[in-house]
Symmetry: D2
Subunit: 485 residues, 4 copies
């Protein structure tokens, strides 16, 4: 691989996308998506004239899709200057990337990046041409946050004794690249990441995986910036994770394989918000579903919904479709796949690709790989049986379909805009320390309220008397913090 080159448009704005000629098509789809994203459009209406982000530098690392384009353009409509990359090598929609790159923001993203290209894009996204970096960060999965934190850490070590990061110190192929990238940067500017972190007001993080990393850093005392955990807004985790996957799992399966789901046996690893949505969609489509869980509470919920609860071993030989949703690793190993039935389908809808042992599969003695179409491969074991792996073990809904639909992403992304507003408006107030925060409930409720009219839903109003009886303000928030929805 040769390093990609940054391009520039007439105005001097940088970008690197697959094919600028798809910009018109991207724009059409963005126009349509706007009608399905009432929360974001309401933010433009409510805050646009005030330009709260006027001149603010905002970087984002989040699947560069049509829906994300509406998020980006909401941020720019509020005054921000935005740079963007994707947080997954397969999740970019090239027409959306082209439209945004042409019209609105600096985009570095295309479908099918190599890992090296992926981290190059991430680096570009964080590097303003004037040498500065972002003041705000929107992250998904925490890779951009990780790069900054690893950069600062390496610069601290280097400052002490000139030790450079050593890519050979890790087995993880992706982390090798990160270390190499930081190492190469150190020779040019040994304070790059330190300066960048200093100017960064905060990050809002989109997903479970990234949030876990943030809490781990908070616990370890290494978090360098305030962080808002958008994932755990109710209007995010209980909607995007659950209802989003309920939509996009069957979508991804159908586009990738055209398999009839009715009558099939499906195994879903994990019954969290994502697993709940996945299992529900497969049941609704007429499949028999077995759920695996480590947590007895989630397991009992699965029982109450009529699912069989059993470990994967019990159904390995009889299952047609395997889906991982755990956020954990090593869920389906190569050895497991070697025992599956012919043409078993395997897909991951958790954030990282280590739920499925792709490395072990590729390294299996005598294995043959048959590419059926993009994001759909059949691996044939020496005994002749094959398994069909979707999106190379990465998020199948983004790799094989178009991810979550606009409406549910509008819930998530409206939380993002509101979180960014919080971080920015409170940047000098000291309200947010270097910790992880969730949005206050009244903002969570506001996000929901912005999405009801589109669905013709009408709220009931509390009378004063009723509000006082249950001891809440008549306009909310309506629930105690511990309420689970």
């Amino acid at each position: 691989m040769s390093t990609p080159t940054v391009e520039k448009d007439k105005s001097g704005r940088q970008f690197k996308v697959k094919d600028m000629s798809q910009a018109d098509f991207g724009r059409l789809e963005i126009d349509l998506a706007e009608a399905e994203m009432p929360g974001l459009m309401a933010c433009r209406t409510e805050f646009g004239s005030q330009q709260p982000f006027k001149g603010t530098r905002v970087a984002g690392s989040l699947h560069m899709t049509v829906q994300t384009a509406v998020l980006i353009e909401t941020m720019t409509a509020l005054g921000a200057e935005v740079r963007w990359c994707s947080c997954n090598i397969f999740s970019t929609q090239d027409h959306a990337a082209a439209a945004v790159a042409r019209d609105t923001a600096a985009v570095f993203a295309w479908k099918g990046e190599t890992l090296e290209e992926y981290w190059w894009c991430t680096e570009q996204c964080l590097a303003w041409p004037d040498g500065s970096g972002p003041q705000l960060l929107i992250d998904d999965g925490g890779d951009a946050t990780l790069l900054i934190h690893e950069g600062v850490k390496a610069e601290e070590v280097y400052a002490k004794d000139k030790t450079l990061p050593d890519p050979s110190s890790t087995d993880n192929p992706e982390f090798k690249i990160v270390l190499g990238l930081i190492r190469d940067g150190l020779s040019k500017d040994s304070q790059k990441w330190t300066k960048l972190a200093k100017n960064l007001v905060g990050v809002s993080e989109e997903t479970t995986t990234g949030v876990k990393r943030l809490y781990d850093m908070q616990t370890a005392g290494t978090l360098l910036i305030p962080a808002i955990n958008v994932n755990d807004s109710v209007t995010k985790s209980k909607f995007d994770n659950n209802y989003g996957c309920r939509h996009s799992l069957p979508d991804g399966l159908m586009r990738a394989t055209d398999i009839m789901i009715a009558g099939k046996s499906v195994f879903v690893a994990g019954y969290g918000d994502v697993g709940k949505g996945c299992a529900a969609s497969m049941k609704a489509a007429g499949a028999r579903v077995t759920v695996a869980e480590i947590d007895p509470i989630c397991a009992l919920q699965a029982c109450m919904e009529g699912f069989t609860v059993a470990p994967m071993e019990d159904v390995l030989a009889t299952t047609d479709i395997f889906i991982t949703t755990t956020g954990n690793k090593d869920i389906i190993m190569a050895k497991d796949m070697s025992k599956m039935k012919n043409n078993a389908i395997i897909g991951n809808i958790g954030h990282f690709d280590n739920e499925i042992d792709m490395a072990g599969l590729i390294a299996w003695q005598g294995i043959k790989r048959q590419n059926i179409k993009p994001q759909c491969d059949r691996f044939i074991f020496p005994d002749g049986h094959g398994v069909i792996v979707l999106a190379e073990g990465r998020l199948l809904n983004l790799g094989c379909a178009t991810g979550h639909p606009s409406f549910v992403m509008s819930c998530s992304f409206t939380n993002q805009v509101i979180a960014q507003l919080e971080l920015w408006n409170e940047r000098n107030s000291g309200r947010y320390e270097k910790k992880v925060y969730v949005l206050p409930k009244h903002l969570d409720e506001k996000v929901a309220a912005l999405h009801l009219p589109k669905l013709n839903a009408k709220l009931t109003k509390l009378t004063k008397d009723q509000a006082s009886y249950i001891n809440v303000p008549a306009t909310g928030p309506f629930k105690p913090a511990h309420y689970r929805y």
Copy 2:
């Protein structure tokens, strides 16, 4: 009404139930229920030989049903000396009350108590024949807790200036009775409630309504004892409230009215845990369901599940069945009922009977009441149309059917036993102050785990490596405190 008289069995144990001859039938049903309550039976196995409650006085105010009998007998199996009343005038199952009164504990409860009888029973339940009171309290809705707190309050006032509580100071007919009862007691022993409260180690509270009262007292600084909020154990609120009602709402409707639910239009007020279970059951039975909500988040959840969200006014004239689940008051007023279609069915499944304006209905000029069968009345308006009100506006699933099934109550009640053990074991440790607590997550998970084998559900186990990757102990707890399930 004349005051009921306490009866005694040969051993001298007190009771007052409807019909002791139903004890054998009650015992048969208790035997069957035990097989469906694996959590409680596991507590007997695990703790029985240690007799942790040996000689401990435990009072309970909680629907005196077959399932509660298994709870009571689990407490006695662990050594407790138990007195019991129901927390609802219609919810006692007389055969269960008889069996427990005959075999195990002092029971004061029957189906169809008057309000005066209800509070007499509550008082008996708290009054040991030796003049002492309970050391532990199990409450549901908080009436027993209220009586104690009001008693103490009145005694404090009385101690100052001999002022007696004045029943005429309140419009609430039930609170009038409470004040009268306390007033009458003051003349006999002006320290009764104060002494009782002093000896009380703590209370575990079963339901949303009672929990709200406890938090209000905590906020006001008036809570006299430590309290464990059992309702907000995940294995309680997300199971009993949701799946329990999903079962018992159609059960109650069918037993009371035999109406075909398929094809009908149903209105559900409230989409909390109870409302979610109710709406799901009606949809599953083939009804068209409209949900009313004040909270935009819950409203958006209802949308995602395919429900119409609208205020009651919009569907008043076209709805066949109205169900209230809010925990609030004044949900369906007499005026609303005057506009409903003929034979509209109205039922409440929230804790208190003030969700439906029974007083207004009964007082409606020219109304006629036609009793169809117990717990099922038709009120005929002067214009000739009638509405069918279930259980006089009280919990229809308990009034018209048998409440929640044993299995789901086993989840709730295992939490109760564990909460009582916590309060008792830590009575001298200072761990629990005069505040409201929820059970720690590992106990919540334990409750779930005890119920899986009965359903043939098998958990998956984390490897050490996986546990470390997601940073949880391999044996749990598996989720952060804010996790919503």
Copy 3:
């Protein structure tokens, strides 16, 4: 057993019911049911003034429930003189029987008849005090039709050589009674059944089982009267059998056992219309369902709906609830029950009680029977495990609950009224020979149309042009005869 005695009211109308004091309660419930039976009420409106059945003698053998009361009173509203018995020893609702006996027709039915009493009631139902018999017959399951045909057969044999029927010639305990009854009658009037059959214009038959008997007689050439197969009206078999059971199976299970269905494993034998409704209801309640089928087409339908399809042997030891719906015999044998888990629940919702081997169970060496409540028995095997059998193997929805709800029975019974009108109006036209007929499609559609307004359903109308394009009359019938719905 002593033979029951016919009673008479002041008007001289005969009856035999359990308790006449329940008549008021029955009347109240009949009033309510009328509002849920729009098809029958529309028949009263449309045909009442013409009195098409004026003076016609109509006998019915069909579960004597509240809904049947509305059918009976629709027939009398159209002028008929009606006598009635139930077609199942447990299915009578005594309050409905009382109300009808008091107000409308000659009823011979009570809940919990012995088999001897059952056939005595059937005989009464067919015997007018003036010595005549019915001109029209409404039958359910074909027992009344059987009695007539067996009677005629015996009289023919007797006429030849004075041979009397011999009860000892059969092993079937019920058929023994039938033969005894006919034998005893022969001594009094050797032409009784022959005369009765001669005056009988026709029969309309309600259910699959009775219809099968009719077609068998048609094939054998022994059918003595024209018969209308009401069961196979779409508005009967696709509604009552399917949606009726979807309602009444969970109702019966809950009333009889209070068991939580969610999380349980349920086995449904048969996936015809009844089995489809049963399996759907159990799935909707959160159970895991296994279906057994002999017919590969129905089996494949079950697969498409997400059910496991397997023979009972495969799930015998793990299933919580067993339901038979086959219309066949010997589905669950005593040996099978001996291998079930403790407290497995067994119920039948097919017409006859021979789906479950009650005889074998009762005769099992060392078995103990524990009656829990009416229609609910636990049989304890010598090894200590017990099984819970509902309604002694008879229709559990009628034995343990109140059968199908009024609305769906209105569909079935409106077909009955229309069938009776057809038979009577065409009695002299020769239109109906001694064969089995189904109602023409336009009448089937009419039945459906009469039930739509109650559910606020509005039909769309074909334009002339559209009607001509699909080559049907604009007002129907809309489908070819072979259409399956």
Copy 4:
């Protein structure tokens, strides 16, 4: 448009497809589909060695998809010489067409044919290079059958008085083309269609629409050949139409528009087998669904499943997604679309494109057409609101997705193979006259049985005694002819 040219491969086999380079990809997908089409593969195993179609000329006009490729290659595996065209201008999958054209049969089909090209392809499909025509015909929708019948009719007229068909005699643009094509052929061979029809042994017809045409011809006495109605095999209409659409409607909607279905309001015109599948899938995905019906029986079924039943007018302004499934015409007119909300989505899943008034829409004064992507157009009315029309009003599941999945098509196509075998094996026996037949029930059951093992479904077997009790052969057929499943 210039007329397409027939191409030839090395062996001389003719074809015309879009892109032969896609053949490898097509072959891969055909290989995968074979594993999902157990019925067809079982036919190859059972009949392949006998070569029942050895040398038989078979023409097919049926969506040229991957699944159809497996059908075609099953026919060739049984010895047939096959020519094929698609029955819809948008439904061809070009990679499947290429693979079959390269490896197996003469294919004339590509995605996006003009109407002229469509009928050219149909003509090629029927015209063997040696001047002969097909001996067997597989048709879907009846266009190939129509062409033959219209050809014969025109030749008869021409034979009388040399009158040529006059394209200007019809307003229907498609029928103009048919008449022109026949007219042009007459000048070359005035007996072409007559000879072709004479050599044709029979046709098996796939779908409701084509079957209706056949019955109309049978009634009119103009049917020239025996026809087997495959559509009304239970294993076709109750599976492909219902479960196929339940799968492919959401698939088409998601691929074309990425719209979130949950929370949306959906209107489904028609509640036949196709409408049932469509409505079920939308409900399962979380939409609120309104169904329109002309037939009161189907309307009442929709009510029982919880759907609102209302004419389109009632929901025109509030519906997000409109789906037509009627098989009738003029369901959604341009005027209706002018009143819809902005970005309402409109799709047809009935056979012909005249359910939606495309002509009226295109001709609307001032309308603008915005092509979003292939098969997805937005039509903008002068008032600024737009509607999104899928697949230009043609079958959206084939135009926007890949049609029905392999498994359910295996059911349909196994019926086709069995129907073709019947027609061919009985070609000289006189069993099939010039009428329309359905397959006997034992063959229908066989088709189902061939599909059960793939889903791990195990049948239960009747004992002799049970079979005799219900009076059916122990191996089936198990149901009377009128049974509706």
